[in-house]
Amino acid sequence: MTTDVAPLVLDEGPAATGEAGLASPAPPRRRGGPAEPDEPVGEVSRASVVGGHAVLVLLGLACVFPIYWLYVTSLRAPDDIFKLTPFPWPLSVSSYSDANKAVHIGRLLVNTIAVAGLTALGQMLVGLLAAYAFAAWRFRFSRLLYLTFVGTWLVPFQVTMLPNYTLLNRLGLLNTLAGVIVPNLCSALGLLMLRQHLDGFPKELLEAARMDGRSSWATLWTVVVPNLRPALAALGILLFVNSWNEYFWPAMVLQRSNSVIQLGIASFIGSADQGLPWGPLSATAGLACLPVFVLYLALQRHVVNGFVHSGLK
């Protein structure tokens, strides 16, 4: 039971908590961010911070270890593949060159980047246009249309694969990268997230632009998009990763060559007549994950913010 006035002071937000040495017997200064009023004080607080670090370190290591082991295996010399040492020594890129001899990794990566990039861009564009319509206008059937888009999430791949394959054949797009991209251009996830973000967009800006006489198209590109950049970045990464990791649809379309990297990995796993070549398999799988990791690290903040502000509640 406390009549201490300190919690009320803390509640005023980061600015207040940032100032040290306030007159009141305040708990130790937090390092930024809103206070949790249920925090205990003093020694116990430090222990729980250390505890928090410990938990996260353990969990992080447990999550990352399989990936780490994959890269370690890919860098071992061929004779050392089955060694257990935590760090590969001597380092060897023979697994990578073996993998490259079997599947042209460079070309696979380039193809996959093209497919994932174009798919993500296409999905963002299509989704942006539709989300703009939902956010900026009230029109008949909008609710029905919205449900139609969200409903595609429920349609499983097994339902669409054969008819789409037949249609692609008639369009002459089989065995092309375009055939992998075109059917996926509307992403329910993209539309959902963009709509959430646009719902929170200040309508006064749109109104102001309209009063300036700008067309809706101009408004979209000069007013809305510049303000949506972080959300677009977050969504772009998620859509890129989704498309990068796609396997089943490329497996249907690309029959003549393993043009995307996921099919390249599968070509190693599938050889039933030989023992699994762990070195080249690890190398290919490792390379398949690398661009995605790099992209994520570069834009991590946006992804996290995208989750926080997407209104998942």
């Binding site: 029905l144 396997y247 029959q255 003549r256 070509s267 039933a272 007549d273």
Partner: protein, 460 residues
Amino acid sequence: MKKLLSAAALAAAVALGVAACGSPGGSSSSTTASAAGAKPIPELSPDQKVTITFESYNFGLAGPWTETFNELLGKFKAKYPNITVIGQKPLGSSPNPASDAISSVQQQAAAGKAPDVDQQGFDALNFMVNSLGAKPLEDVVGKPAVDANFGGAHPFSPSVTTLANVKGKTYGVPFVLSTPILYYNKTLFTQAGLDPNKPPTTWDEVATDAAAIKAKTGKDGAYIDCLTKGSKDWCLQSLIRSNGGRVISTDGSKLSFADAPAVQAVTMAQGLVNSGSTPKLQQKPAYTEFAAGGMGMILETSAVQSVFQKGAKTGKWELGAAAEPAFGSQPVIPTSSGSALFMLSKDPAKQRAAWDLITFLTSDQAYDVISSKIGYVPLRPSLVDSAADLKPWADAHPLIQPNIAQLAKMEPWVAFPGDQFVQIRDGWMSAVESVVYQGKPAGPTLSAAQTTASALLPKG
């Protein structure tokens, strides 16, 4: 309420409009183009350009097969510059493309673009002929041409030529195959006090030797790679035939894999597992263990021989190969696992190009490459006696001898009839797997599987 109704009406209208593709189904009136007794198709003129597709489940896998195919296709292009061959792997997402081999042809046929030449397992023979439209080769190119291909300086083994025949007509040219071979670890034999140059010749001897290996060296004794859903039924058919039984009646109307001889064969394998000589493993872990030197014997296809040879070199143990063991004094009847090349094109020019490709891939020259690079036994066995062809290779690889010897006594891998042949086989093999590796009672389990499978046979 009105809004809901109008929304529903809109949805229905969209649905109807979108579904205006008519009712599904093909017309049963279109029969195969080549009627019996039709003239053979003409040869291609040298400047007549044709493009054909060749589908094989060996494409698209990182390994020696893709390289070998590319080499062969390169040689083909040099010989027939006016024919372009596009190689492709089966359509589908299974990691092992062989699982998709049949459905791939089906789906492409539905879209109107079945491959011109297709490499397909013998188990799909009935489906290829009756449903997928494989062409009877005698009708398309004439009997003399078919016989000429099977003959030549180094003819096919006679037992091989009829493997892809249905009702007397040749629908496929057998391409690569293997009979069941008992590979064994000579080093482990020596360590267990057995004579490495006298491998077991009957299943009773296998049981004894396996027990000895397990007791003296601690390594697993033997593994029969014929008894899981993944291994398919090709060599189990051989075990059953060798024990005097059949899997299905010769007219294809009645299943018999729950009859006494078949049940006995499965019980023999169950005994090996129960005594501890056979480990409870799936196919790939089992042959990987053998390759690593951890198993005494394995009944396997020679397609995996290169894996064993590599393993023996790394693990420093000696590999041996022997004929399939017998049930007591009954004769061994090996079956063939493997595939044939089928022709699916309807256009005469493509048919001719397809035939040129098929004859090329089954020529002496092609088998020289395939055998030496991949290790399959050549279906033209006399090539191994010819110094210009495979004699040097055969001398360097004495392990192929049992396979060559067994070629002569071989019987076909019987394909189940009807559109649901895969279900029949999978149901049966799952039952076998549960009997052998899970100890279920053989008789009742196999009978139940036979009853279920019988309902899947084509009616009439």
